[in-house]
């Protein structure tokens, strides 16, 4: 005998052995204001229903009311606030394509250095908080110590630690400080041993592997059908990185590898694979930074910034590779100085939609592990 119970507010009726558990908007591990409705049978999860929108700040509506395309950039920062440089970069590249602006070489090189430094900072936060979700508190502090060094470099360049408004359409807001190259080189030298330390402490820890290997397996074809991108897609074994496969800026001048998940300690596409892809991407970003910072040409970073931005009526879609995945901007210009429509395709919005498919049949602790391995930022999911 099974009693069906319909609770107003929950969209499916409950059988009597199922329980609805609410990982509510306030929870230590949902990485922001995300509500997960878990329908569980004991410890086993039968279904996960994510509810988002708690951080919706109407980015797209604001963008339509800005009087200038440049004014949208601070809003772009605030979407993925962990990796703000990459958001600005995507929007700037989209607008430059719309206006057919060619930025100076110096700007390109500095943008690449900033984007890759931001990638390392974002992955450090993802790895640190992931360790904390699994229960290892100490790697979190080590990751943040190194992240602070990157944020110090950013603060010296543009005055802000987290939300920069640095990459403008046609150039940059400030030139880099005189000792920028030296500081970045020092950071790279200091950071390489830390990755080794992190691997000893967390990556190959037996308990960590038991918690993450063979958990939340995402097959490659399912990932592509769901539109996954970034480390989530690469963790499933698909060697796809926009910096290599659909190049933008000057990434085609640098040598770097694309790490993919190989199922080293479990199955291809499990949480450990997504995690190790992020760790290895940090090493590759170091390679790009070292190549880029060694050859920054001289120039004026503000020479190509247009005085008036009034593109002709056109629409285009530009995508860039942020630490979380493929960030797309679809901009419709209507011949005035403000955009007609700016639609953002956030990588974490799409990656989060795969969570229910990955978590059915897992245990509650595994849902936390899977959610951490997707690496979401609610600012980007909700905009």
């Amino acid at each position: 005998m099974e009693a069906a119970l319909t609770i107003p507010g929950f969209h499916r009726s409950l059988k009597s052995h199922e329980m609805v558990l609410n990982m509510g908007p306030q929870h230590p591990s949902t990485h922001g204001v995300l509500r997960l409705e878990l329908i569980v049978d004991g410890e086993v999860v039968i279904d996960v229903v994510p509810h988002i929108g708690y951080l919706h700040r109407c980015f797209e509506k604001h963008a339509e009311h800005m009087t200038n395309y440049q004014q949208v950039i601070p809003y772009c920062d605030r979407m993925d606030y962990i990796a703000a440089m990459n958001n600005d970069l995507g929007y700037a590249i989209a607008c430059e394509k719309l206006l057919a602006i060619k930025v100076p070489e110096r700007v390109e090189y500095i943008r690449v250095v900033m984007a890759e430094l931001q990638r390392i900072a974002s992955h450090l936060l993802a790895i640190g908080t992931y360790g904390m979700d699994i229960g290892a508190f100490t790697p979190f502090l080590y990751c943040f110590r190194d992240r602070e060094r990157i944020l110090d470099i950013f603060e010296q360049t543009c005055g802000a630690r987290l939300l920069y408004n640095y990459i403008w359409i046609g150039g940059l807001s400030h030139d880099v400080p005189v000792d920028f190259q030296q500081k970045v080189k020092d950071f790279c030298d200091a950071f390489r041993p830390t990755i080794r330390e992190l691997n000893q402490l967390l990556t190959y820890n037996k308990i960590f592997i038991e918690r993450t290997a063979n958990v939340g397996v995402l097959p490659a074809d399912v990932a592509i059908n769901y539109g996954a991108s970034g480390p989530v897609l690469r963790g499933s074994g698909v060697k796809w990185d926009l910096r290599r496969n659909d190049p933008y800026s000057i990434y085609d001048r640098f040598e770097f590898d694309i790490p993919v998940g190989l199922g080293e300690v479990g199955t291809v596409g499990d949480c450990w694979d997504r995690y190790i892809v992020r760790v290895r991407e940090m090493e590759q970003s170091l390679r790009i930074i070292e190549q880029a910072v060694a050859s920054i040409p001289a120039g004026n970073v503000q020479s190509a910034i247009p005085k008036r931005i009034r593109p002709d009526a056109a629409d285009l879609y530009v995508r860039t590779e942020t630490p979380k995945g493929e960030l797309g901007y679809y901009i419709i210009a209507d011949g005035t100085t403000s955009p007609f429509r700016v639609k953002v395709r956030p990588p974490t919005f799409v990656n989060l939609s795969i969570l229910p498919a990955m978590s059915r049949g897992a245990m509650i602790a595994d849902v936390i592990a899977i959610l951490g391995s997707i690496d979401i930022v609610l600012g980007e999911v909700d905009r």
């Binding site: 929870h27 591990s29 410890e43 904390m132 699994i134 229960g135 308990i207 918690r211």
Partner: protein, 341 residues
């Protein structure tokens, strides 16, 4: 020492009540110290400093400030919680942790109660904690607390078995459950301690006991009942103020109790490692407390290093790894004792 006190005060009941309070005189300052110590150890392992300001030197008064703050908090009982069970639960947990101190000999001259079945008594009375945790989880009327309580009950009950079995291995050698006898049987130097006897079986037994005791006190890697990142705070989610302080106190009392039992049973108890040098009734208490603190340090160290196990993996480790090994240890030690004598 009991006889001296009875002669002094004349009233047996008074003496017994006084002796019941003596471990509390140790536990309360110890808890204050241990919380500060844990924060400092965690901080230094994490490349930061920890409390630095409260009280001046390295923030030594931090815990005192925290206790004062907790005492001033409003005592909230959720409206749909079972108020009696809710209020009673922290006390039951504390009783379970505290009652074990009665049987532990702090030195050759002092033991709270001369219980001839000391080991058996300790194992029995520390099961009280499970009842308290279940009461806390159920009475909170909160699904998350319930999860924490259920996990905790399963965990504690499962890991009592390896604890009992490994303690039995030592009991077989000594021939008595009395902890004072077990202590006396280890007199001599550090090499006479049971952890080095009947090598390697008692060494393995000590390791099994230590790991199982981590699960008994809900410390990482076995801290799923209070897994902060999953269950908010597990069974004590709804508790605040003094009730929460009592849970905290019980946790540290329990930590110290299992450390001191490990020290007594395997590591010589109140015996000095140097034989006669630095030994005597007061030195005995000193050595026991130092050994207890050493194990507490290892527990804190492990908490900040290791991730936590998932609940089914934890049950796997308990039932399919620790219990078979404990059985093997008992059989081997039993044969050894038989063939020797």
């Amino acid at each position: 020492m009991k006889e001296t006190l009875i002669d002094l005060l004349g009233n047996e009941a008074l003496v017994y009540s006084l002796m019941a309070v003596v471990p509390l005189l140790w536990i309360l300052p110890f808890a204050l110290f241990a919380v500060w110590w844990e924060r400092k150890i965690a901080a230094h392992m994490q490349d930061r400093l920890g409390p630095m300001r409260t009280g001046g030197w390295h923030g030594w008064a931090q815990t005192i400030a925290d206790i004062l703050k907790l005492m001033q908090k409003e005592d909230i009982i959720p409206s749909s919680a079972d108020a009696r069970l809710f209020t009673l639960a922290p006390f039951v947990v504390f009783i379970g942790a505290y009652a074990a101190y009665a049987a532990i000999p702090f030195s050759a001259a002092y033991v709270g109660a001369e219980i001839h079945i000391g080991v058996f008594y300790i194992i029995a009375v520390s099961s009280f904690v499970v009842i308290g945790l279940l009461m806390a989880g159920w009475s909170s009327n909160n699904k998350w607390s319930l999860f924490g309580a259920m996990r905790s009950a399963a965990q504690v009950v499962s890991y009592e078995i390896p604890i009992a079995l490994t303690l039995l291995a030592v009991v077989m050698i000594v021939g008595s459950f009395d902890l004072q006898e077990i202590n006396k049987a280890q007199s001599g130097t550090i090499l006479d301690w049971f952890v080095f006897q009947k090598f390697p079986f008692l060494f393995i037994a000590a390791l099994i006991y230590f790991v199982a005791s981590l699960a008994e006190v809900n410390r990482t890697p076995f801290d799923i009942p209070e897994a902060e990142s999953e269950l908010v705070a597990g069974y004590h989610t709804e508790y605040g103020g003094m009730k929460f302080a009592l849970f905290f106190l019980s946790e540290y009392a329990n930590m110290f109790a299992v450390s001191v039992i490990a020290a007594t049973v395997f590591f010589g108890g109140w015996n000095s490692p140097f034989g006669d040098f630095m030994s005597g009734p007061l030195w005995g208490a000193f050595w026991l407390l130092v050994k207890g603190l050493a194990f507490v340090f290892v527990q804190i160290w492990l908490r900040w290093t290791l991730p936590r196990l998932r609940v089914d993996q934890l049950m796997y480790v308990g039932w399919k790894v620790l219990i078979p090994f404990s059985f093997a240890v008992i059989i081997c030690v039993g044969f050894w004792v038989l063939l020797e004598g």
